[in-house]
Amino acid sequence: MVEAHGLVKRFGDFVAVDGVDFSIARGESFGFLGPNGAGKTSTMRMISCISPLSGGTLRVLGMDPLKDGARIRARMGLVPQEDSLDLELTVLDNLMIYGRYFDMPKKVIRERAEQLLDFAQLTERANDRVDPLSGGMKRRLTIARALISDPDLLILDEPTTGLDPQARHLLWDRLYRLKQDGVTLVITTHYMDEAEQLCDRLVVMDKGRFAAEGTPRQLIEAYATKEVVELRFAPGEHEDVAPSLVALAERQEVLPDRILLYTDDGDAALAEVARMGHVARSTLVRRSTLEDVFLRLTGRTLVD
């Protein structure tokens, strides 16, 4: 569906995307992860033929984005980072207008709109203006709108950023259904739980390059241990404790508020900590997540 080699995006002197290669197969759900400014959105905008590439090659749906932008976008659904809904029109009108951009007959749009409103759980709001809808509803409408043309490829740029947990879970459920239906999804996100839920395969982007790629499981195996032990000590105490714990784990991370021990057997490590006579204020043994991978690869320092 998408094939990129040495893809580059420059804005003046600034290199947003610095020569990346990837390929996305039909029916796959592919994620771009990364902190803000990592180049995710620039990559998405190139795939969606909105932003011309500065270097490398890119094929989307077997076509060239520079020459066949319109034909590619006719088969693509795009959910941009910021909603571009017409706030003064009704929910249904927004779908109608968008369908007309694809030159679909009104009757067909109306039929699909009905199904999509059902899918997006917006049926009761069909004739309400968009402006007063909640963020989650607007987001679901944007996704429904992107699906109006029955696209082969759905591109979602940070689909759930800024939504409350309920709204996010509902949206994930909807996206999961799309995945089940065989729609190819390309998603950017900086939420690890989102990536774990939705992506078959993902890349971690940092400073315009891919820091890692694979399935969520592969990434965890490659860049984290099976389990993580989190230890909290009294303030000031853990700098003293930390050196003695190094041997207990494959990798140790000392944070201002806690110590993380990366190990394949968390309980054993914890028992060992207790045997050494350290009394932690709280302890937690958990499975490694993509978040651990992400933070390891992109660092803990705030980027912006």
Binding site: F11, S48, I50, S51, P52, G69, A70, R71, R73, A74, R75, L78, P80, E82, D83, S84, L85, D86, L87, E88, L89, D93, M96, I97, Y98, R100, Y101, F102, D103, M104, P105, V108, R112, Q115, L116, D118, F119, Q121, A146, L147, S149, D150, D152, R177, L178, Q180, D181, G182, V183
Partner: protein, 282 residues
Amino acid sequence: MTAVSGAGAPGGTTLFRHGEDVTARRMATPMWLRAARYWGYQYKRTWRSSVVTSFLIPVLYLAAMGVALGSLIDKHSHGVDGVTYVAYLAPGLLAGTCMQIGTNDATYPVMGAIKWMRTYLAQLAAPLGVYDVLLGHLAWIAARLAIVVSIYLAVMAAFGIVYSPWALVALPAGVLTGVAFAAPVAAFAATQDKDSAFSTLYRFAIIPMFLFSGTFFPVSQLPEWLQVVAYATPLYHGVTLCRDLTLGQVGWADVGHAAYLCALVAVGYAAARRTFARRLVV
């Protein structure tokens, strides 16, 4: 929800047929026309208020200044340039209204479509390209001008101040005048980040032009140095062209007026292609 919950059900769902039916008729309507269609859809909701600003106000002007003030002028100086004042004023107001509509529709709506409502961005996410977005918007402005000019000419006919079949050509002439403003103004609007420049544009260009470009009185009434400025303004050419047509005093000079306006459309459109692309394709 049932439509999609058939996930994994044999035969798939009705929602995702992956391209058969829905796509069958795509690509038939030109892209720019699809963009223009959007603005028409919008207009259906707001036409009432726009009728007031773009049509009722000039008609009130026509009644107050053309008829009431005009009778005074006609009594004292036997009309203007050999016709009654209302017949002289009406085509001037027509062109002036076209200028205002063209300018109005190319300022806030263009900025809004870039920054506030992001309409252009929605269109660009659909199959439309940046030139389609621009051309569609200008085409819509032209269509709206055509509606207003038609009604206006009908009112003029009712006032009995249409003197020649040439008046029919005043329809495209009025549209041309409006677009001659819309195209360059859209080019300018696409470079702006704030709307503050628009009121400057009005204060220092549009309103003075409206008052001094031969709309209300012959340019020859102005001091000589100002006459030169007035002759150079696009509105002067729009006003004179419309006036010659409704009064039936058509001459070769009108070809020149039309050519001037056409040139402005061409230059404005070329500039707008550049500024739109620079703003929207990054």
